[in-house]
Amino acid sequence: MTIDWPSFTPGAAMAGGAVVGLAAAMLVLVNGRIAGISGIVGGLLRPKQGDTAWRIAFVLGMLAAPVAWMLAAPLPAIRIQANWAELALAGLLVGIGTRLGSGCTSGHGVCGLSRLSPRSLAATVVFMVAGFATVFVLRHGFGA
């Protein structure tokens, strides 16, 4: 294993992560909700009385984040290497998988691990390993 030192940004990663943790803290302490993005979006497809507006508000907040950022500074690079077919397949798998598995990087990875949930620990290990394996096959497997 070789470390990509020029790309490695531990300080910004840790600080940005703490801000993500703060967002999750706000949502659970004031709204009593888990800041799991797949769960928040997925819940909109199963609307319940009084359970929709906060979900839409949260999603709008996330969509507004890059706009707010641009008021103060240029946006960081967003490098997307996947082509259209890969984006569509990836999105479909992420949509099915996160709902079937009841969570994603935020719901299981951040909130679940913070709650010391054994289910979330298992889910996080599984999706991380699946992510590692997928990238390995796509970048290094089959003579790639």
Partner: protein, 148 residues
Amino acid sequence: MRNRTAHDLLAFASGLVFGLGLLAAGMADPAKVLGFLDLAGAWDPSLAFVMAGAIAVGLVAFGIARRRTTTLLGDAMHLPTGRDVDRRLVVGSLVFGAGWGIAGICPGPALVVLGAGRTEAVVFVLAMVAGMWLFELRSARRAPAAAA
């Protein structure tokens, strides 16, 4: 639920702060996420530090939340109660991880990149919502699915 407006404003603020945190952490850049997932290439461990920073704050917040029966606004806590590692959790996480590895995009960054106006994110998010909708169809055919 009382204070509905306060809840909705707080949810907007939480989403905004969440998105700003992802941008600051470099996690709205799919190439950087793939740099973490590519263990066999030139590895960028940054994502692990994002998780560590988030969990350090989260441990305190959820530690407080666990000891409370109501939120700071006096409403019910909606925390997951499931403890079983079942087949559905494992299969779902496998499928999610495979999709994550293809493009380096998970649901949170997808929304941030969409907000940045990138057309690639339109394709990804539409496909993601379609996937979630397929799950809802399947759940509706079976017994009512348990949430979270």
